[in-house]
């Protein structure tokens, strides 16, 4: 084992593949921020890159890059702990490697097509080869089929490995969740001539992926991370995972109804969507109780301070982004005005960052620690850890700043465009040119630049943290548990 240098001999087979996923995830994270900044500039200077790289293209690349880098991060995280969790080598690792290269090549081609072809005639050829046209899942049909095929390989790797090795609560929930992850994507792959029916199924991908399957996937990743980072007992994290899954599915599946308010579905969706959306913050409040309990009863010692810092950021970001910002505008009585305004973008920025980006970044730190030979990443880092602290501060400040700016813009839009002007075309422009809106967009750009600075620092830190470090990582010794090779205790 090499200590203090990036050496793939420090990694098992699954972890080597995970590092590839993490690397592409970071590249896509940069792309997300870059295209987001370009789109933010276009709000202030609409002529910027007009007819070269239009706002619609930048926005599409900004959101698609986000969705894909998060998926890369999740897949990487699962490959990372697969061997350790199952106790055996990854089944079909070669196939997994091929799937990675196929997916990455496909993502590269799709991005090039988005950038250089951008649009087509709006016929079947366009749909199959250029852009499917559905917001957030614009990938052409061939790429859709490729994504499903790669996800099936991923499922085979995961289910095959656990079947050969040992099953646990985490692995069981994870494997079942992957079935849903693959299956739900199919709902966004067929067309109907009725736009209401089309949107009905489209939301299955957009909402149920994010508020059901992704949340559960992150729950599994968090469960494993907490055992690794803090030495939490398996029995406890698994019990909480089951509770979280029950609460997420119990509220999240029919919470889908809040997207059905205004697409032409029957009126009963107002009640269903409103009621279940009101339940959606409950899992988050449950987590508050358990976090407080653990903080009060245990004295935390973590193996990796940056990772723990990002896990804590995840807790707050998820609570405020998904819980507070979501519930503020989810009931139909208010959503009538806020739906589709910058208010939605405000909620989207904080909740995606808080719920998903943070946990991926935490995992990147876990990965780099092991990649460098499981070196020390606790307190008293060589440079006092200023880079990870500043990058975390800047990224959080930037995203919170953008969230507040977009909230102000969305509030003004809801007021002027919707409530006062009655959603007319002139109302749209009146809202877009109002000083509140333009000022908010200016500050959104400034905060976007702060976010970009945080990202630059994050990349620098991930590339250098632990370099030359000779101290071994703080060890969290794990008690034997029935059927499990190692569980947890703590050491100083």
């Amino acid at each position: 084992m090499s200590v203090g240098v990036l050496d793939s001999r420090n990694l098992n087979g699954g972890q080597k593949l995970a590092v590839k996923y993490f690397t592409v995830a970071m590249v896509l994270f940069v792309a997300q921020i870059l295209f987001g900044l370009l789109a933010a500039v276009q709000f202030i200077a609409p002529g910027f890159l007009f007819e070269t790289l239009d706002f619609s293209v930048n926005r599409m690349l900004h959101i698609n890059a986000m969705v894909v880098w998060m998926l890369y991060g999740f897949i990487g995280a699962v490959y990372w702990f697969l061997e350790e969790e199952s106790g055996v080598e990854v089944v079909g690792l070669k196939l997994g490697e091929i799937a990675f290269w196929v997916l990455t090549a496909a993502v590269g081609i799709v991005v090039l097509v988005y950038l250089f072809l951008q649009i087509g005639a709006g016929d079947d050829t366009t749909r199959w080869l250029i852009n499917e046209g559905r917001e957030y899942i614009e990938a052409p049909r061939w790429a859709d089929i490729g994504i499903v095929a790669v996800m099936l390989v991923f499922f085979y790797n995961v289910a095959g490995t656990f079947s050969k090795g040992r099953w646990s609560g985490v692995s069981g929930v994870l494997t079942l969740d992957l079935v849903a992850l693959v299956g739900l994507y199919l709902a966004g792959m067929f067309y109907t001539t009725n736009v209401t029916v089309d949107y009905y199924w489209w939301w299955w991908v957009v909402h149920l992926w994010v508020e059901a399957t992704w949340e559960v996937l992150v729950g599994c990743i968090m469960a494993w991370s907490l055992m690794k980072l803090l030495g939490v007992r398996r029995k406890i994290v698994q019990t909480w995972l089951y509770i979280e899954v029950a609460l997420m599915f119990g509220s999240g599946i029919l919470g889908l109804g809040h997207h059905y308010f205004w697409i032409g579905t029957p009126e009963y969706w107002l009640s269903i969507g409103g009621f279940f959306s009101a339940l959606e913050p409950i899992p988050l409040v449950a987590m508050v109780v358990h976090s407080i309990y653990d903080a009060g009863v245990h004295k935390f010692k973590s193996t990796n301070h940056p990772a723990l810092g990002w896990v804590i950021a995840h807790t707050f970001g998820n609570f405020f982004g998904a819980g507070v910002w979501g519930f503020m505008h989810t009931l139909p009585q208010i959503n009538l005005y806020t739906h589709g305004t910058q208010w939605t973008a405000s909620h989207g920025h904080l909740s995606f960052f808080g719920a998903y980006a943070t946990i991926n970044i935490a995992f990147f730190y876990l990965a780099v620690q092991q990649w460098r030979g499981n070196v020390w990443m606790g307190a008293n880092l060589a440079d006092n850890g200023w880079k990870w602290k500043w990058s975390m501060g800047l990224l959080n400040l930037g995203v919170v700043g953008m969230t507040v700016a977009l909230l102000i813009a969305g509030y003004e839009q809801s007021f002027i465009e919707r409530a006062v002007e009655g959603s007319t075309w002139s109302g749209y422009f009146a809202a877009q040119t109002h000083p509140w809106f333009t000022e908010a967009m200016f500050w959104r750009l400034i905060m976007g630049i702060v976010t970009a600075a945080g990202l630059a620092l994050l990349i620098w830190d991930l590339a250098t943290i632990g370099a030359g470090e000779t101290r071994p990582a703080l060890v969290i010794e794990r008690h034997e548990e029935p059927g499990v090779k190692a569980a947890v205790v703590q050491t100083a």
Binding site: L284, Y293, H298
Partner: protein
């Protein structure tokens, strides 16, 4: 079936919705901490948070013109926010019972373990 929020109630409506979730977390957090630290002051703060939550639910219901089903939903929300943290705290206590004896086992280092093995 629904009557939209009036323009003059717009801020009150969204603010009260935010207060519901934040007070819900405050109630849960203060309650759990008060019980763990055996500090009655925190438990009182928890109930003060819940009172703020209940007031916010009332404001939300009024400004959203809740009637019929929606009033029932608001009532259920009040009950749910009150009971859920209590139930979860009991669950935490039960789940962690007997844990300390396990955690009191001697501290060891992975390298030492590897050397021994």
């Amino acid at each position: 079936m629904i009557e939209p929020v009036q323009l003059e109630d717009f801020f009150l409506n969204v603010f009260s919705a935010a207060v519901i979730v934040v007070s819900g977390a405050g109630y849960a957090g203060f309650y759990a901490w008060g019980k763990i630290a055996r500090r009655p002051g925190f438990v009182i703060s928890a109930y003060a948070s819940y009172a703020s939550l209940a007031a916010a639910v009332w404001v939300l219901a009024e400004t959203s013109h809740f009637e019929g089903f929606w009033r029932v939903a608001a009532g259920l929300m009040l009950i749910g926010y009150f009971a859920a943290p209590l139930a979860i705290f009991r669950l935490c206590t039960a789940m962690h019972a007997g844990e300390h004896s396990e955690h009191d086992r001697p501290i060891a280092n992975q390298q030492q373990e590897e050397e021994q093995s």
